[in-house]
Amino acid sequence: MENYIIEMLNITKEFPGIIANDNITLRLKKGEIHALLGENGAGKSTLMSVLFGLYQPEKGEIKKNGKVVKINNPNDANDLGIGMVHQHFKLIDIFTVLENIILGVEPNKLGFLQKKQAREKVLKLSKQYGLEVNPDALIEKISVGMQQRVEILKMLYRDNDILIFDEPTAVLTPQEIDELMEIMREFAREGKSILFITHKLNEIMAVADRCTVLRKGKYIGNVAIKDTTKEELSRMMVGRDVNFKVHKKTKELGDVVLSAHNITVSSKIHKNNAVKNVSFNVRAGEIVCLAGIDGNGQTELVSALTGLEKISSGSITLGGKNITKANIRTRSMSGISHIPEDRHKYGLVLDYSLEKNLVLQRYWQPEFQTFGFIKTKAVRSYADRLIKQYDVRSGQGPITPVRSMSGGNQQKAILAREIDKEHELIIAVQPTRGLDVGAIEYIHKQLVARRDAGKAVLLVSLELEEVMNLSDRILVMYEGEIVGELDAKATTVQELGLYMSGAKRSITKENENAG
Amino acid sequence: MKRFSSMLLVLVLLCFSVITGCGSSTSQGDATSKGFEIALITDKGNIDDKSFNQGSWEGVVAFAEANKISHKYYKPEEASDAGYLAAIDLAVTGGAKVIVTPGFLFEVPIYEAQSKYPVVKFILLDGTPHTADYKTFKTNDNVASILYSEEEPGYLAGYAAVLDGMKKLGFMGGMAVPAVQAFGYGYLQGAEAAAEKLSLPAGAISVTYHYTGDFAETDTNKATAKTMYQEGAEVIFACGGSVGKSVMSAAAEAGKKVIGVDVDQRYDSETVITSATKGLGASVIQVLESIYKTDKWSTYAGKSTYFNASNNGVGLPTTIIGKQDGNAFDRFKSFSKKDYDAIYASLADSSIDPVRTLKVEDTNGYATAKELVTGLKLSKVTVQVR
């Protein structure tokens, strides 16, 4: 008889039109890190919401230490020692770290807040697990990684010993991911049990003891990590073999498509320039990757290239045409396609239908309008074609509100729109962020296909694996400068890491030379 | 869901019963509500405007309650001639037999209504019915047009102020409309008479005379009043609707006095020593009595009647609301009810008859100091116009 702390037995949860969880069983041992693996929409979040008391299952039961329990709401879950770090943090921006941690369980005496006592406990916990935070910092002022620590401390503060992490690494930098992994291992050593929801195989291989795999709402299997491989896991998750290695033909380089010369962009956050005197070229038929840790000026540089932000000095040439002062639409018409970093904020109008989003860059073209009136039929048939060609899946086809679509399909829609539009250069910023393996594979293939078709591709990515797999040439950004230009075939992840952390540089500062 | 849907059901049922119920009970509704026999239509202002609406409504209420007659006021949906007429329509639908309309804004609507509803009696205060183009003036037999001799309460106010020992007076009229002009002219003549009575030398009394050009409470008006007080004015006769509020707040700051207008404004501010009132309530009561009690409607019907001291239609307030034996002259230093009664008697028997209108050059109706002095035969009183 195994010693299970939590058992979810034969859970079935239905939503109108879909069975999110179909007879799923998950058993969590005390002191283990248990991964829950599945593609987007496989039913992982639903299962965890059931455990957390947010949904009531139609069938099945939950046991703790062998006894059947009823979890009606998150408070019940909390009483059972279950805590959860949600994918989208549930923090109040204008409160301090401490206030957020004690929110809902404020220690009080006769209604007066006893902050001191709480502060001591928080400091003790943060020291014990190496979760350093400043208790008096405002949430809105601290980094995403810090915010996650606050979420973790919230669980610890409530003395939870069953910890659920819902896609915790999606928002973190490589270093922060490593730290998180270490913290999770520490928890496990302490005897806490961890449920780790993810679709990133590397992380599972690195940290988990066992793994339960879901696919399309169904239970696929449970494996011990030491007995399995990445390939097997991915097969279980996707239901077929997945290629991790992207196959690229060697390709003759064409003309210079994008030429950035001495670009400087001022920062909106701090006084220094976000991008300092950056120059580079992207040629037809190559994928150039801007690598670097998040926040080293990549976002600002892309904004400058696409016209979302003004540059303070320098020039940008596209296909020999100077577009330094051109507005966004002119640049778009001149051949820049842009897959933006934040697809919800920039890439899509979530409240518009799929078809309206698919013409977002082209609605004004004569193909789609006459005398200012939109040609509904033309839009519909265009959308139908893209949906078919790029396999964009949605509930109601072209009239589906984009908000209701899955992340992967939203990204496919953007990809379809940007690729189908006439372009010489694709700027793709973290195009696979938050997507499952199948979608990542698809998007990678499409980008390579663009390169092979003789287009220029500028890829901005934080994922080293993606950088190494896709690019022909790597430009590393550090503190607003390009500190290294590497040949993807000749370099290693380790070397790349050195450049990214600023420990190494092969391109000297031009202004220093000048001075 | 069950709870929710049942709640919804109850609401829907409620709604339906209300809507369907109406068909069967409209007639019943009309039958049960006997209607409101005396109606008042408010003009653009509210019922508590401390002016025409309120003053005349108080008269309606006093008379109707004493005689147990149903009464009600209506508020027009729109401040236009058509809107006022529609409110009269509504009042008639509501069973009105007598309709009181305070203010000249009703002149055109009453002209229409008097032939539209020949059996309904109209009491039009401060106006005479005429067509929109001012070409036809006609007061039918079912209309009593009530006008006020504003010069008389103005006279009383000026007289009281000077007899009380004040030497420097101020007058702040709104726009130079006939009523305001009459108040002002009377005020100057009253001051002259009191100075005469006190045997003061020529030029002993000085009056600053001013039209604000609006009827509003504005910072400009307050500043003007403040300046007048600073220049020595002991009291200002604030004669222009909400201008009074500006003057009162200036007076409160300067520690000076105000004379109110139209209705007794002593309740608005401690600074108000007295008010030159039109007996709105009293006149409404008198006309209503002629209809219901004395059967003398014919004395008012089909013509304009001036209310003045002779029929107790104007004056200074002599009672305090809520205090049976209160002294309404308590804010004067020496002027008393006795002094008031004496001068009032002279006005009532027409032994004193103040000038009501002057010939004025200015198109806006602003008289010059010279016009005032010569026209009103002032000698003890000097006038500065500003």
Binding site: N327, R329, G347, V349 | Y73, L90, M175, D214
Partner: protein
Amino acid sequence: MQDKTVSSSKAFDNLKKVGKSKGFSAFTAALLAILLGLIFGYLIMRIASPANSFLGFQMLLIGGFKRIGDVFYFATPILMTGLAVGFAFKMGLFNIGASGQYTMGMFFALYVGFMWKLPDSIHWIVCILAGMVGGMLWGLIPGIFKAFLNVNEVITSIMFNYIGMYLVDMLIQGNAAMYISSKTRTAYLPASAQLPTLGIPHSSVNISIILAITLALILFIVLNKTTFGYELKATGFNKFASAYAGMNDKRNIILTLVIAGAMAGLGGAFAILAPSTIAGSSMTYEPVSVIAANGFNGIAVALLGNSNPIGIIFSAVFISHIQRGGTLASLYGYKPEIIDVVIAVIIYFSAFAMLMNSTVANLIKKRYSKKQSAKLPSADSKEGA
């Protein structure tokens, strides 16, 4: 027995289909909102005068049907200001300046009405157009401030409410041809400047309601069928995405506020140019330093109409209907002020509940899905597969 359950489940499916459509949910939400407002209105009447509350409330509900002409007449200006608020709101702009635009529109219409001698047949048309220009001007200025200086349109448009009102009062008082100082209001407009009446007896309802509804339909088409509407709504939904797609937000902001201003300005013109039921009379304006209430009522109209031009037509007519019924309800012994409170409660509760639209819709959906999945698991799973 068996048949019954089958048919009921079928009906349920149909209901579900209807329930899923977007228009339906907005419509039901509006109805629920109105219902809620009515309940609170009734409660107040009940408290004020229990004896007559039933008859009074009944009259409030149905009284408007007895005065259809007036319902449409009074609906016209708030329909226009509702469009002014709602249209801008579609772009994410809160045009609280409808009052100022309304007043300016009114002044421009008055000015042309008094000062320009034009042939009778076109005089009123020019007056309307002038009113539109006046409103546009007062929409343009906050638009320019917003677009080029990034000054919040709420602040500028509130200030322009006051600036407009005082300016108009000053201009009118200083113009002897327009203003009769002894009456403290404007003179009667010449008949040629007044709008053609629709000929319903005892009502001033005129051609402007037809124009207003037409304009609402045009705005609906602009919003839903044109590239401008596409850009405008996209900006309203997500201004970052609209910038990303290269839309000219400066131009769109100005254009939107100018159109919104035009609507409010027309509202003012329609109101002041209305014909009178009394020969030789007309609407008049009193420069008494009061901000036009119709501008603010437009906010409630727009909210209740969910900023949809078609919805705004219905909400304006509904609000006017309740107001007209309320006036009649005063015959049951209610003081006009009580009726005012009741109407205000109904309108603002409805509008407020409409704000909670999504919450209400979610609540229903949640309850609905729960019941459904509990009762019809098999039917559901089939559909899902």
